[in-house]
Symmetry: C2
Subunit: 407 residues, 2 copies
Amino acid sequence: MSRLVMKFGGTSVADLERIRNVAARVKAEVEAGHHVAVVVSAMAGVTNQLVAWCRDACLLHDAREYDTVVATGEQVTVGLLALTLQDMGVPARSWLGWQLPIRTSSVHGSARIRSIETEGILKRFEMDGTVAVVAGFQGVADDGRITTLGRGGSDTSAVALAAALEAERCDIYTDVDGVYTTDPRIVPAARKIDKIAYEEMLELASQGAKVLQTRSVELAYVHKVRVQVRSSFSDAPGTLVCDEDEIVEQEVVSGIAYSKDEAKVTLTNVADVPGVAARIFGPLGDAAINVDMIVQNVSEDGERTDMTFTVPKSELERALNVVEKARDSIGFERIIKDTNVAKVSVIGIGMRSHTGVAKTMFETLAAKGINIQVISTSEIKISVLIAAEYTELAVRALHTAYGLDAA
Amino acid sequence: MSRLVMKFGGTSVADLERIRNVAARVKAEVEAGHHVAVVVSAMAGVTNQLVAWCRDACLLHDAREYDTVVATGEQVTVGLLALTLQDMGVPARSWLGWQLPIRTSSVHGSARIRSIETEGILKRFEMDGTVAVVAGFQGVADDGRITTLGRGGSDTSAVALAAALEAERCDIYTDVDGVYTTDPRIVPAARKIDKIAYEEMLELASQGAKVLQTRSVELAYVHKVRVQVRSSFSDAPGTLVCDEDEIVEQEVVSGIAYSKDEAKVTLTNVADVPGVAARIFGPLGDAAINVDMIVQNVSEDGERTDMTFTVPKSELERALNVVEKARDSIGFERIIKDTNVAKVSVIGIGMRSHTGVAKTMFETLAAKGINIQVISTSEIKISVLIAAEYTELAVRALHTAYGLDAA
């Protein structure tokens, strides 16, 4: 029988009524002939309460104790879901991270999964098709302490379990019904994507689409786990994240992403000499500050130039400090910061074999009078930095220009 | 260094402020030179919520899943207490039942402790005196599933841990400041007892005094664990439960207990022949109904008699059904039930070597015009059944008669 992993987030298991809804969906898949493993998060709000208690108990808390406390959220949900399934006549048992076990690194609070032992689950699958209800977000370190994977880690648990079980598919149930060509809140004509390639989903996830956690997509990509994103509140089919070979009609551009979480930093009048970039970005890298886009203006006199880059808004103050400290070694005139910017990205595997994608982007933005401040590209993505106030205008115009609007 | 086990119940860890109070008490014992293991319950109210969820999820719930859910209550508390201790500069780590492990039988929901592995705790004691914060009420069965010991089981966890650690003492912190000669709510002159023998405490616990769980006293008795009952809200010394050898000035009577949880059943006109008692109490025993006191009236004609016994009120209806079903084999005229009764007990190891204790009891009750309906005795206890309305009057009169009133 084929194996299926289903994953439900906190809002899907927020109370007993919703847990019954989840159980009904699981039951339907069992009756459709699958061996099912379900991965669940904590009931919505519970993790926040547990985190707040830890913070109140000890500001600089011991991450091992933090994990012990926070992991209880999922422990409650697996027990309740197993009971609810049993109440519906479906054999089920709960598995905690340490029980399977799900072995992880010992970086408490953001551990990485190393291996998942599936023997216990498979034995029960063979015996009587018992549904495995597995606690997401948690594992166990080599010393026997409970670990957690960090926020949103349940997606990663589900994909890793699907890989270990060699499951046919991993269905991630969430509060949206799939991955869209762009944010439907700003583009009502946005379309749900039926199939999207791993690489595209990775870019979408890291460019601001919050449907799937980036790490879980990476894991799916590496282990070729077919992931379906779908709604736990409707029966509509969702979006399948899969290998590009499985996508027959590949669009040139699959989606438009945007992010307002970036800040722009410009250093003026920097010496235009070899090694200056290293003197700027070396210290920023040492401080673990994530520099995204970089542009160096063409030097007019061949001696001085301006250097512009972006960092996450949350790391701006730290970045400015680092640069200020390195002022002597870099040698610049002024630091100009700008938090009023947005990054808009056009993403599509089809770019590899189609020319003119960038041209369309630049022409579309120019036609709307939107100035491009910084450009960066990859094989399957073009990103531009623009003034934040133009974000919605730009996203809508690009969505139309690439033919993504719903008919 | 001497080892100390401290145990705090749900009201003592009900919120972070109270947990800080607990941590301060632990810190004081560490600074006084002890190696300390602390056993804690779930925050007050949490277990009830978890139990209600399980019941709502599935009425006839799988006790293994129930235990998985309910054990999270203590898991949260151990993490938060460890963090709070660390915040106060005291090295501490939490231990869950499966981590030590605390091995139990597999009777989920009311498991019995089989062994406690203390190696991990002792290693940290030796290393840097790390306080062991141990989850009460839980353990792990041979198949790796989490078990719970049943309500009030944290007292048992603490005593068992004290035995395994060969601790100097096990301090049970609660919301009263010790064991009293009787219920201070009805006898204001009741005195706190400084030292009480295991056997007496066992009788007190099973006769209605709710300070300690009966099982934990049994365990302390068997392993000779010195248990101190004391208040987590005051610094007053509590009551030491210990071997009778340790009690220099043994009173004849240590305490007066009462219980209104009994019901009386009388079968009239029963044949006064050998074997009739077996025909009554055999079926009741088979139905696991706990018969306490039994009295058979003297037969006037040598042929027929009345048989009276008591059962817990909660089991009365079941008991009546059992007897009614056995009507033909027993052969009685009528069943008379009376729930308007109370059992009053006088308890003291001194009775073994002192005569006249029973006489004092009967005379005292007679002087107040209280009729005794049933009497039962053991080596260190005399119990009588009386009309419930006389309970307070009887307890007060006996407390005075045995010289227990505070000066």
